[in-house]
Symmetry: C2
Subunit: 301 residues, 2 copies
């Protein structure tokens, strides 16, 4: 496999001002892997219960995503997240979280998974992320995290951050992790924690990429209809990592394109519930939107 | 004169986490005209009291900004704004507003001012904006406004918006004016009110330009030190309008560069109190930062 992701596979219940879906296949590893699958071979490491149906599994298999490392716990229930969005759609209000089989998640990796050159550690407990990272002989490792771990397991989180190449988090998390309001200064502080790069997700405002000696930023795709923001950050990371794995090189111009492809995938993801939009997406649509980014950000000096 | 601006000239008192300035030359017309003066000839229409000193006047004259249309009211006091910023620097808390001579402001325009080809109506009462607009035979007119007028004099504001070419406001104002949370849909609604273009100022996130058939957006300059955000929006508008007046053409690629120059001028303006940074700015520094925008937003398709 080119790209391995470890993270949650979930059965969400999502309410937005535009509709409700009681049972919505979600989870960071799901959104990430579906987005990345347009660029490269992907395998997902995770755990589900036996309420995870063949129809759910089809979301992975129809995109040729390997579920060899997706454990099924007999008698168990899949991780469930119940959330609601208001009209501004910027932040979800969590109504309920049921960890279920995810509470005892012990990632098991096949031999081929351990040889993946690209690895993404989605937002899970930092010790678990580190355990997986240590088992994989990857040449490029990126991770996500969230305020929960920044506040509760900071030391553990810092140990994990120290052993990855890229941290991909949102701007509020950047500021919280660094204890610094100014995003640019916060980014400089985070780069001293170990990673060679920091990718900042800024929602409707776009994304930015910091390394010790470079900076790149893009605005987001101008969407008139945002239907369900769930998984935007994970599909962004999926596009970013998927494109890097496909290019199989990490240089400045490749990273810039990867940030745009991440933005493209996030913009499609939020157009419908769950992975609905991505399931019928084509490579031509992805490329067309990538070129639209070029046209609405380009200027002649 | 190439570019005429009508708006406030003020003596601010500004507190930020980094310092206090009890008497800070400010006002929309001040920040606008100083920024624009790097690109073209500028004249300012406004009113001050006799607490406005020769030292204050020097800020205009040293940049060759015409004050022929700046009225001085004997015995009057200049408009005063007392404000405070917290650590996030995103929004000012108004402590006190003293309109003083600005309360009875009746703009008087010289003959040459009436022939200005470019006109900017800074944030003042919409009826005053319209009065000035009607007196000037300009080929391109832009305006600013704020939530105060959107909420209190909406009908009047809409009449003024209907007779300008460009509306230059911040994103919260776009949403409030349109009554629409989604920025893109809000922009479409505003373009139906009359202006051929809408420029959206997004603070630390950048700026966007909408016309009926085009879209352009940029991120902001990555500043590690924001000292005083006062006048950022006005110096943005000054750079934008100043560049258009200098280019003396309104086409897509000129407008894109104008948006970048606006962003450049705003980024310098916030580095110090009042117009301090702009007073010692050079054209070379402006051009260099413009090219930096190119380098941190450019990607190869």
């Amino acid at each position: 496999m080119s790209l391995l992701v470890v993270g949650s596979v979930a059965l969400d219940c999502i309410r937005t001002p535009f509709g409700v879906r009681e049972r919505s296949l979600g989870g960071a590893a799901t959104h990430f892997s579906v987005a990345a699958s347009f660029f490269t071979d992907v395998a997902v490491v995770g755990v589900v219960g036996d309420d995870f149906t063949d129809e759910d599994a089809a979301v992975f298999t129809e995109r040729n995503i390997s579920t060899e490392n997706l454990q099924r716990v007999p008698g168990g229930k899949t991780f469930r997240w119940v959330a609601e969005y208001g009209f501004d759609l910027n932040s979800a209000k969590t109504i309920d979280t049921q960890l279920n089989v995810f509470a005892d998640f012990d990632p098991q990796l096949s031999d081929s998974a351990r040889r993946s050159p690209f690895l993404f550690l989605a937002n899970i407990q930092p010790t678990l992320q580190r355990e997986v990272r240590e088992q994989v002989d990857a040449r490029f490792v990126a991770m996500d995290t969230m305020n929960y771990w920044i506040e509760r397991t900071r030391d553990d989180l810092l140990k994990t951050i120290a052993v990855v190449d890229a941290l991909i988090i949102n701007d509020a998390e950047v500021r919280e992790l660094a204890g610094e309001v100014n995003l640019i200064r916060a980014a400089r502080k985070i780069l001293k924690l170990g990673p060679q790069m920091l990718v900042v997700k800024r929602g409707e405002y776009g994304a930015a990429l910091f390394t010790s000696d470079s900076y790149f930023a893009t605005t987001a795709f101008p969407l008139e209809e945002v239907f369900d923001p769930t998984g935007a950050g994970d599909s962004f990371a999926g596009g970013f990592m998927g494109y890097l794995a496909q290019a199989d090189r990490i240089d400045d111009s490749t990273l810039r394109r990867a940030l745009i492809y991440g933005s493209v995938m996030a913009s499609f993801n939020v157009e419908e519930f769950s992975c609905d939009r991505l399931r019928r997406l084509t490579s031509e649509e992805i490329r067309a939107r990538f070129l639209e980014f070029k046209s609405f950000t380009h200027f002649e000096p």
